[in-house]
Subunit: 295 residues, 2 copies
């Protein structure tokens, strides 16, 4: 199968499941559910959940085994965007060409929608783990995701980013922000996918490292696009990171060195797929597409 067709199949699986996991009500909580669903279906590329399903499949289990954890991770990613866009954080009024959550629903509901998505992620993972044949696989995947999204992971990265807005930053701070803010969740997608396939702890840690390499390449490419990209293609004002004096790899090292770093990291990821022959074809194509993307 063409890798894009496979990608679309994964995305369809994920979207169907996400839709089923957030049921709209006519109860007094109606508005927060609507608001959660608005951001969940506001054009996300589903990179993290697709990665998780594909790694689980490459390592020999049905991708569907990882589906609840993949949806949970997408909810965590989405909540982080909602809170990140708030006036007290990045103060963004649009994302992917659409009004951000607080612009549509107000700040109070947007805060609660973010909280609701984070909480729902753990409801779904706990529920699913209760009925697994191998609850330990589910618990280990949950631990990888929980660690990656917490103060030692993504929230730590958001904190560093917020604290350093408008400041000159050094090499190690930039690396901290990349590693934690974007790297942690992408890495957790790869690691948890492997854990749902039943790999041992040592192999899970190896996949975690591969995930970090991919996440870092993805983030540097994102920063490059922000400089070079076309506003219409990206759906957000080009150069917005520069405007906010955000820490970026190209700002610190220049465009050429950034491209070289992306290539090194990509090679590291592709090598890890070598033992899996054609079972890794989809992940190879996805990796190359991610680091060569124009939007």
């Amino acid at each position: 199968m063409d890798w894009k067709a496979e990608m679309n199949e994964y995305i369809e699986m994920i979207n169907k499941a996400l839709d089923d996991y957030i049921i709209l009500t006519e109860e007094p909580n109606a508005i927060v559910l609507e608001s959660m669903k608005y951001s969940l279906f506001a054009g996300g590329k589903r990179l993290r959940p697709v990665l998780m399903l594909a790694v689980c499949g490459m390592l020999g289990k049905k991708p569907a085994v990882a589906l609840p954890y993949a949806c949970a991770l997408e909810m965590i990613h989405t909540y982080s965007l909602i809170h990140d866009d708030l006036p007290a954080m990045d103060d963004d009024e649009t994302r992917r060409g659409k009004p951000t959550n607080h612009i549509v629903y107000g700040e109070g509901v947007a805060i609660l929608a973010g909280d609701g998505l984070l909480n729902r992620a753990f409801e779904i993972m706990t529920d699913n783990t209760l009925t697994l044949e191998e609850p330990m696989h589910g618990l280990k995947a949950m631990k990888s995701i929980a660690d990656a999204s917490g103060v030692q992971g993504m929230i730590g990265g958001q904190t560093a980013d917020l604290q350093n807005e408008g400041k000159e930053i050094n090499d190690s701070m930039l690396s901290y922000i990349h590693h934690h803010k974007t790297g942690a969740l992408i890495s957790a997608a790869v690691k948890a996918g492997a854990q749902m396939a039943g790999v041992d702890d040592k192999e899970a840690d190896q996949w975690e490292n591969i995930g970090y390499a991919l996440g870092t390449a993805f983030q540097i490419q994102d920063d490059l696009l922000d400089i070079e990209g076309d506003a219409a293609e990206m759906g957000k004002p080009v150069g917005s990171d520069e405007k906010n004096k955000k820490a970026t790899y190209p700002a610190l090292y220049g465009i050429e060195k950034s491209r070289k770093k992306i290539n090194e990291l990509t090679q590291q990821v592709l090598e890890a797929f070598n033992p899996y022959g054609e079972k890794a074809d989809f992940l190879r194509s996805l990796t190359e597409a991610l680091v060569n993307r124009r939007s």
Copy 2:
């Protein structure tokens, strides 16, 4: 042992564990950890975790078995207060006589501190469940806590409360808000405590109902104190709910009927303790103290 001495022993256990669960760093995430700890140690009464430990103990297991889940619940309660106090929500500058989190750390860090506490709660529960002799007990307790704190529980109640601020509300909306905003977490404390003691699902549901009765009595008493209480004793301006036109039981039914309702609910709770003889002495005293408290 005197019940207050037992209460202090529980509180000491909880405070020690909470302190150990949030380790300050000198990393770029330092400020968010400091901010999380500030609110965790800003004078909370530890009602929910004490209830969980005591129920687990009354039903025959060591209270310490429930300690990680009890601390997680306290973190969830604390994060909800941080977010509830934000300008976009209740806009409170003090709580229990101290400046609220966003007044000390700014709104951005306060949002992240709330997110961090909610996430940390699930990190702790997942970690602990991975090493339990009976992981199913831990997973069931996690499910009770996750359900209670989500959009079908506490966040749903916060949403309804936010949406109805300044509006006339009816009986059923008031009941929705009480049941979800305060009732759900207190009920989850009782239910999860019973689950960590190993009760079956039917008995867990019965304890959930008892928890709701106690939670509702507690909330009505809280509303009464807001009307009658003394400002210095409460650490917040008396009548602040009335000022904000918040939905309260006494505002809708009057003081006498509110007191009667508290008594009915209290009797229901005390009856549930009857089979446990002197093992329930602490919980009897705690229940009576809660519904008769003056601050």
